[in-house]
């Protein structure tokens, strides 16, 4: 017999693993803003990849419900406020598993906002959704193993990879290789990636200093033309059609923060994550967190955390306990990875006074120099006041000047006024068309 209900937010690997683990024991609802399950990594345009289906199918057969295309815009101790394309509703919850993943981290350099410059994950998503990249020259730059995965994928779709630049030194990466010995899966993955990328230049301790724009006479005027690269004292220009830039990921912590979950102790240079105990339980009772939200760790760790969180939320602690060791091993690897990907302080010097930091409100670095805190920059300089509410630029200013940003309030993401009018427990359901589960 099933006891209790578990609502899972986010249908990436962590959320799917949680759903599969919890479904035999509890009434499960899995929701995601995308139309189908899969998350960032298993995104397949409108469909579902095999990997996602392998986790979702058994969950579905055990009775789990799918709620796609809808996002959580606010939440309290009793209910989630959901919005989809046409309506909104309050969805009561008993036990929550938060697996909302992470977003890409962007670091500014002159030209980082040019068309043609994208996050490595963003460009992959565009291609998965139908962008034809065949024959296009792509430069892949930044830090971390995601660069390799992105480059391999783009190459498999017909892109010409002009090169991969990794800001970390060879020595830092050697540390990473050592850490990966703990994980045969990682080792296999890494060698697989390098095989797929044979012949592609891979440069360590190298980065993009600036992206250059096509001249006005060119047919692609205004678009990215080339990047200026630097490695030690060597500087050169590399023409390309796209720059896939990636400096790792930042956990999506807003919803957890709104629900009162405490942050994990700050780690130098790393974006904030949510604190959890051995069983993935956050500081609030009945809320478990799994995947990137607890700290960036990749696919295997997300799957294990999801499974543990799902079992624990469904009251199956004894079963969950079996996976703790494997998860801890993966966590160990994740920590080593974070160390290896530590950003070179030199990168802070790349943006110039004209380089835009807040894209929503078009605020350049030079103007931010007048201010001493995030709040001052916001109130007097409009930094972070736009649609993304500082999701991108607060991470940048945190990295540049250690400005702290932590004020979460509803809505956690822009939402229709008609939706927000339903926020109260006793809201009249007058104006908004409710959607049916």
């Amino acid at each position: 017999m099933k006891t209790g209900s578990v609502t899972i937010i986010g249908a990436g690997p962590a959320g799917l693993a949680a759903a599969a683990a919890a479904a035999p024991y509890a009434t499960v609802t899995l929701l995601d803003e995308n139309p189908g399950p899969g998350g960032q990594i298993w995104r397949a345009g409108a469909g579902t990849t095999t990997a996602a289906a392998e986790l979702w199918e058994p969950a579905r057969q055990a009775g789990a419900q799918w709620l796609g295309g809808c996002r959580v815009v606010a939440a309290d101790a009793h209910a989630l406020l959901l919005e989809n394309a046409t309506g909104a509703q309050r969805l009561p919850w008993e036990k929550l598993v938060l697996a909302p993943g992470a977003r890409e981290r962007f670091l500014p350099f002159p030209g980082w906002t040019l068309p043609g410059v994208l996050g490595a994950g963003g460009l992959q998503a565009l291609v998965k959704n139908g962008l034809d990249i065949r024959g296009q020259r792509v430069m892949v730059a930044g830090s971390g193993p995601l660069l390799l995965a992105a480059a391999a994928f783009l190459r498999s779709q017909g892109a010409i990879i002009a090169g991969i630049t990794e800001q970390a030194t060879r020595r830092q990466l050697a540390g990473l290789a050592w850490a990966s010995l703990v994980s045969p899966e990682k080792r296999k993955q890494a060698s697989g990636l390098f095989r797929q990328l044979r012949g592609v230049p891979y440069l360590t301790h190298c980065w993009v200093e600036a992206a250059e724009v096509q001249e006005s006479s060119h047919k692609n005027s205004g678009w990215l033309a080339a990047v200026r690269l630097r490695r030690g004292n060597r500087r050169w220009r590399e023409p390309c059609d796209w720059l896939a830039s990636g400096f790792g990921l930042a956990p999506n912590i807003e919803l957890a923060r709104l629900l009162g979950c405490a942050l994990a102790p700050a780690a130098e240079g790393r974006p904030s994550s949510i604190a959890v105990d051995d069983f993935q339980l956050a500081s609030q009772s009945n809320i478990w967190c799994a995947g990137e939200i607890t700290g960036i760790g990749g696919l295997e760790l997300s799957l294990l955390e999801g499974r543990i969180a799902g079992l624990a939320a469904a009251g199956q602690t004894a079963l969950a306990r079996r996976w703790l060791k494997a998860r801890d091993r993966q966590r160990h690897f994740a920590r080593a990875l974070a160390r290896a990907a530590r950003l070179d302080a030199e990168l802070r010097r790349l943006p110039g006074d004209e380089t835009v930091i807040c894209r929503c409100e078009d605020v350049p670095l030079g103007r931010l120099r007048e201010y001493h805190s995030w709040r001052e920059a916001r109130l007097l300089g409009r930094c972070g006041m736009g649609a993304c509410q500082g999701r991108i630029c607060s991470d940048i200013t945190g990295w540049l000047w250690n400005w702290q940003y932590d004020t979460t309030r509803p809505p956690v993401t822009p939402a229709r006024i008609s939706t927000l009018a339903l926020m109260a427990a006793n809201a009249e359901k007058a104006s908004s068309s409710e959607f049916i589960l």
Binding site: A74, D76, S373, R375, E376, L379, L380, M385, G386, A387, Q389, R409, P410, P411, P414, A415, R416, I417, S418, L420, A421, L422, M423, A424, A425, N426, A427, E428, A430, S431, S432
Partner: protein, 380 residues
Amino acid sequence: MASSNRTFDLAVIGCGIVGAACARAGTRAGLRTIIVEGSLAGGGATAAGMGHIVVMDGSEAQLALTLYSRRLWQQLIPELPEAAEYRSCGTLWIAEHEAELELARRKQAKLAGQGVACEILDARQLMEAEPCLRPGLAGALRVPDDGVLYPPIAAQWLWQQAQNAGAVMRSGAIVTRIQEQAIHVAGGDRIQAGAIIVAAGSQGAELIPEIPLRPRKGHLLITDRYPGFLRHQVVELGYLQRAHAGTESSVSFNLQPRATGQVLIGSSRQYSHDRAVEPDVLSRMLARAQSYVPRLGDLRGLRAWTGFRAATPDDLPCIGPLPNRPHIFAALGHEGLGITTSLGTAELLLAQMLGAEAPIPAGPFQPARFFIETSPAGHA
């Protein structure tokens, strides 16, 4: 610290819009001025308010102060920086039904009697003036010379004016105690000044306990950019009645067009010290706004926040010397009108300080009205 050894003519405590205006007025009168701010200048109620520059007629004194202040703002407009986002959008006071339209006519007569340009719009004219409103409203009173601005930048500009004229700014200095001609700053520092203006917003009562200030919390929510959606600041005519009904929490319909094309949605009132955005109050406020502007429902809300208005029992600010300590002046208790009345407050206060003729009657604003309970012997 250099400033503590110097003697000032005037020390202003608090650098919200009211303190900034007072410091500017002080330097314009030739006073050596210091402005002492405990936290972020402009970061108190001034960072939370709507920035509606509005003539209000809740009482004769309120009408005099808001009208005088609006005139002062209008003189400053050419000098304000673009980032102060001043727009002369006018106010529409919405009459929901015929009975309210009658109220609007009376308000019109009263304002016109004071020389305020204003006109009654019938139902059709209202729809033309503001097409986003729901049909079926009785009409409105239009006050074309009201405007909106962005308060934190307006305040910053005011204190920069004071600084350019020689005022000294001490930031990060919390005043713990005031004496007749000196103030004490946390950490032991003491600043001497011939006169002291307490412009500490809703925290003012900590320095002058006799003034009965209560924080009246308000919610606001801002949308994404929708240029052209809204033209006027639009307020329900019953606003004042609803706002001061004295119930636990009240919401009223108050929409503001920002220069950015955003719509600022207000507002709520309740006595509270808790900063948190309350889902219950927020959703009631939004539902009310939607009932006047149905298409508002499709706009995307970006951010909600709260702020505290410093409320006095009679809804008038305190602008004047303390009865028992004539060198200490209060500029406190501006409730929901301090952005508008900051400039008038500063002039009225300086006139009293310097013994000049008051630009409007100062009587109704005297802090002394709250001191009646203290013994005639004065304070120790």
